[in-house]
């Protein structure tokens, strides 16, 4: 969506209508829906595990998935067919930009925490270069710039180089406590668009409406 010129909303005022349901976003969802013709018949019901399974079983020649699942691609026990023949590449650019949704589990400090300082100290310790190097050696993905661009990290697995190359294009979903609720609305409506229950425009209009309801309920529009 971002690469087509769309966006989830305004991060400052949390307005969604007019951002997620623009012409560009509609084109992006229509393009995504069109890709289904190249997928197996049961692809609309695929989640990460099924996508991995479809690739590992040789059902598909190419698949998009989170980096976290790529160890399963290169493990001979789970991918007897192509574990040593698989390559990894950066998601391509779109007509209006190059952005990649790299999922991950972020660290945050709850505003309700009674140990905010301790939590921040932990985060500071975790982000130190030696610690991130050890984390990467254990198979973790790192946001530490130096470690990310080091040869040690890039050569640690067949897919780390693609990860390091993807990072400059990173964009992510709303980083708010209502994340799960907002994402669920998107998943439901995108799924309806893919299944042709709604058109791309209808799906995105519904997302805009529901997201603003969620933000309103959570008090983001209170003055």
């Amino acid at each position: 969506m971002w690469s087509f010129g769309g966006t989830y909303g305004d991060a400052e005022n949390h307005k969604v209508a007019g951002y997620i349901n623009t012409e560009d976003a509609v084109k992006a969802l229509e393009f995504y829906t069109d890709l289904l013709q190249f997928s197996p018949p049961d692809a609309p019901n695929y989640y990460w595990a099924e996508t991995l399974s479809a690739y590992n079983s040789g059902k598909v020649a190419m698949a998009m998935n989170y980096f976290a699942f790529f160890p399963g691609v290169v493990d001979p026990k789970s991918n007897a067919i192509s574990h040593d023949k698989s390559g990894f590449f950066v998601a391509p650019a779109g007509p209006k930009g190059h952005y990649i949704s790299i999922g991950g589990q972020g660290m945050s400090v709850s505003s309700y925490s009674k140990n905010k300082d301790l939590a921040k100290q932990y985060m500071k310790w975790f982000m130190q270069k030696p610690v991130q190097e050890k984390w990467a050696a254990l198979g973790g993905f790192t946001p530490h710039k130096e470690v990310l661009q080091s040869d040690t990290f890039k050569t640690a697995t067949p897919f780390n180089e693609a990860f390091a190359a993807s990072f400059p294009y990173l964009r992510d979903f709303w980083a708010v406590p209502e994340y799960a609720e907002l994402l669920e609305v998107c998943q439901t409506n995108w799924s309806e668009a893919i299944s042709k229950i709604k058109s791309a425009k209808e799906a995105l209009d519904a997302i805009a409406r529901k997201h603003e309801e969620i933000f309103e309920d959570a008090g983001y529009y209170d003055e």
């Binding site: 018949p41 692809a43 019901n45 989640y47 799960a180 609720e181 439901t188 299944s195």
Partner: protein, 306 residues
């Protein structure tokens, strides 16, 4: 002369106290597991509250209820649920009653056949959903599509085509729960006095006459009880949809009210709204059950008069 009090079983404790001592553990459990959650969820339904946040519940009156009742998507889920309930319960009724009629006679291996027919009901719904997901797989690797492939131009998207997905759920639920209907109907059929059929035979009554005027009236109270149970169960069905169509997919084609309630409560942690939704569902089920029970009492009254 000393009179013994035979009902006084223990010294120091009265009959009443002893009764309460036996009942109290169950009462406490019932209050903790049923009554308290019922009252607490009713309280939360009038508040904005998220179980994932430490913020205290904030009173918002009937806003949760008005938002839900004004949301066209919620009515869509109710429609989907009604569609499922009507189709599934009807199919289970006809198949279950039909099987009971066939089994209501003596034949070799009757016990073995009855046990086999009861097996689906004994399986875990999650296991049933999982293996039916493979059977109904939308490519030709799915067993059903494989056998139908000589007659079809392309495989049927049982769980991916929104027009067909609910039918897939109905098929699985019917496969699983028709034996329940069969069991209840069989119990009813076994209880019909044989002399009524003998008397009808003497008067040269047709098979349809015997079914319409002897079998059906005498078995209908039990059939209605079975229908009541299956309707209540079908209304709150969750497990098969969760596993078979991945939480109500494709899109929201199979998203029932229970599935939506689960998402509200345990995916979005919108606890206040989920409690309100649960109460709306409770009121509907109680209303439907009351209609059933009134009709059941009427049928029972008619049967007794006959």
């Amino acid at each position: 002369m000393q009179i013994n009090h035979p009902h006084r079983m223990s010294r120091g404790m009265s009959d009443y106290q002893l009764k309460m001592a036996f009942i109290m553990p169950t009462m406490i459990l019932l209050i903790l597991m049923n009554i308290f959650p019922l009252l607490w969820s009713l309280y939360l339904s009038f508040h904005r509250y998220k179980a994932s946040m430490p913020a205290a519940p904030r009173f918002i009156g009937v806003r949760n209820y008005s938002r839900l009742l004004a949301d066209p998507e919620i009515w869509g889920y109710f429609q989907t649920t009604a569609y499922f309930v009507i189709l599934a319960v009807a199919a289970q009724f006809f198949i279950g009653f039909g099987l009971a009629l066939l089994l209501n006679r003596d034949f070799r291996y009757k016990g073995f056949v009855t046990t086999l027919l009861l097996l689906p009901m004994m399986l875990s719904p999650v296991v049933v959903g999982l293996f039916w997901r493979f059977i109904l797989s939308s490519d030709n690797a799915g067993l059903l599509n494989f056998f139908l492939s000589p007659f079809l131009k392309s495989p049927i998207g049982w769980t991916t085509n929104p027009k067909v997905a609910m039918l897939a759920v109905v098929i699985v639920d019917t496969w699983m729960w028709s034996p329940f209907m069969m069991l209840i109907a069989l119990a009813g059929l076994s209880a019909v006095p044989k002399f009524l059929y003998e008397a009808a035979d003497v008067d040269r009554a047709s098979a349809w006459f015997k079914f319409r005027w002897i079998t059906l009236p005498l078995v209908s109270p039990l059939l209605l009880i079975a229908l009541l149970f299956r309707t209540m169960d079908a209304f709150k069905m969750f497990d098969i949809v969760y596993v078979l169509t991945r939480e109500g997919g494709p899109g929201t084609a199979t998203e029932t009210v229970s599935m939506n309630l689960y998402k509200l409560a345990f995916r979005n942690y919108n606890t206040g709204k989920a409690c309100a939704m649960a109460y709306i569902l409770l009121i509907i089920i109680v209303a439907l059950s009351n209609i059933y029970v009134k009709y059941l009492n009427r049928v029972k009254g008619d049967t007794q008069e006959t």
